[in-house]
Amino acid sequence: MTRETVLPAGDEPEPIKAIRLKHPGRIVFAVILVAALAIFVIDAAQRPAYGWDNFAKFVFDKRISQAAGFTLLLTIYSMLIAIVLGITLAVMRLSDNPVVKSVAWLYLWIFRGTPVYVQLVFWGLITTIYQTIDIGIPFTQPWISIESKGFIDVFWLAVIGLALNEAAYMAEIVRAGILSVDQGQEEASTALGMSWIQTMRRVIIPQAMRIIIPPTGNEVISMLKTTSLVTAVPFSFDLYGRARDISVEIYDPIPLLLVASAWYLAFTSVLMVGQYFLEKRFSRGVGQARPEKKGGTPTETVPIVTAPATVVDRGEEEKR
C-alpha cells in the first residue's frame, strides 16, 4: 500500500558545488593568437603598401557603391533564376518520365562539366556566334530575322551565364533535399489522391527546404563572389571590375583590392544573418529549434552532413 512517489520533506539532496575544471591550454593559446593578431594589425596600419589613405578615399566612392549595387543585382537575379531552374531540374530528374529525366541529366552534364569562367566567355561571344535571331522553318529563308547585337546587353548575358551554371548545382542540392524526405510522406499524399505535382509542391518540397536552405545560403555567398568573374563576358561595372579600373587610374592596386574585399565581406556578413532566420523559419514543426551552443555565433550554419545520411535511394526502396 505504501507507494512513495514524493520525497519526504527535508530529504532534498544538496546541489553539487564543485570547483570548475580549468582549461589553461585554451587561455595560453588565446593570448598567443591575440598577440599575433595585434602585431599584424599594428604592422599593417603602418605599412605604406596598403595605401590606407587611398582606401579611405575610395571605400565610399560613388563609382564603388554603384558597382556594389551591380554586384548585388547580379547575385540576386542569377540566384533567383538558378533556384527556380534548379528546383525544376531536380523535379525533372526525379520524375518517372524518361524524356524529362534525360533532358535534366544532359543539362547537368554540360553545365556542371565546364568551368563557369569558360561559360561566361561563351555567353559573351553568343552574339558573334549567332549574329541574327531567325524565326521560320529551319534551313529555309527565315520569315523574321533580328540582329542579335543590341538585343541583349552584357549585364543580362552575365546574369544568364551565372544563373545557368548555378542552376546545375542548385538542382543537386534540391535533389538531395527531396530525397531526404521520408518516403511515407509521398505515400500518404498519394493515398489521399493528390497528384505527383501536388505532392511535390505541397508536401515534399516544403519539407526538403529545411535541408536545402543551408547549402543554398552557401551558394548565395559563393555566387556573390563568383560575380567577380563577369569580367569574362566582359561586364566591368561590378565591384571587382570597377575597383580594378580605378586602381589602373591611380597606379595603386592594393588599396582598391581592400576596398572591394571590405564590400564583399560586408555583404556576406549580412547574408549570413539572413540565412540564420530563413533556417529558423523552415524548421517549423520539427520539434524545438536546435539548441544553439553557448558561445556560438547565431550565424553558424548547421552542418549539412546530416543530409546524405538520411538520403534513401528511392530505387532501393521500390525493391522492398
Binding site: D182, G184, Q185, E187, A188, S189, T190, A191, L192, G193, M194, S195, W196, Q198, R202, V203, P206, Q207, R284, G285, V286, G287, K319, R320
Partner: protein
Amino acid sequence: MTADTTDTPMVHADRVSKSFGSNRVLKSISLTVKRGEVLCLVGPSGSGKSTFLRCINHLERVDAGRLTVDGVLVGYEERGDKLYELHPKEAARQRRDIGMVFQRFNLFPHMTALENIVEAPIRVKGVKKADAVARARELLARVGLAEKADAYPAHLSGGQQQRVAIARALAMDPKLMLFDEPTSALDPELVGEVLDVMKTLAESGMTMIVVTHEMGFAREVADSLVFMDGGVVVESGDPVEVLGNPQHKRTQAFLSKVL
C-alpha cells in the same frame, strides 16, 4: 461505372498475385469484403498483408489476378478484352475514395493537425476552405482532439498523431478505410485510444480492412479474420472461431506465440 447495388462487394480479390523481382509476395490471394464489413488481416511479418493492403489502393501494382473495389477494377481499365493501364490522374481519382492509415502515421510535419486534414479536401476535391475547416474541426472532435487543431505533429503523442491521421483520411469521405498496422509504432499505453477510435468507426458502418497484431481488437470488432503466411491465405473465417479454434498448423503456431 460504379455499380451501386448493395450486393456488390466493397473489395473483391480474385487470385491476386504480386512479385518484387523474383520474390513472390502474394500468391493467388482471393477474398471478399462486403459493404460495412470489418476484415482483420493477421499473420507474421513478411507474409504479404501490408503489400495486399497497398495493392487495394494501387500503391503497388497487381501482377496477376483481379482486384476490384466497389465493382471497379483497381489500377487498370477493361475495354473489350484488353486491359489498359490507368493514367495517374485516374488512379488518383480511385484513391480519393479509399482512406489509408499508416503504421508510422505519415502526417505532414510542416502542417498543423488542422492543415493536415484540410489539405486533400481543398486541393483534391476543391472543397471551399471554410467548409473544409469546419469539417476538419468536427472530425478532430470525433477523434477526441478538438483542442489540438493548431498543434504540429511533433508536439503530439504517437496516439494523438495516429488519431489525426485517421481524421485526415476520413476528411475525404472514403467508402473504404485501410489500416496498415495502425498501432504497431505506438507505446503500449497509447494503443487503446487509437483502437477506440477505430471501434467507433466500425460501429458507424465503415468498411474497414485492418492489418493488425491486436488479436483482442480482431476478436471484438472484426466480422471476419484472414490469416496469411508466405503470401497465401492460410485460414479465414469468423474471428472468434479462427482465434479460438485454429484448424491449420501454421495458424496454431502463430497464435500460440501472439496470444
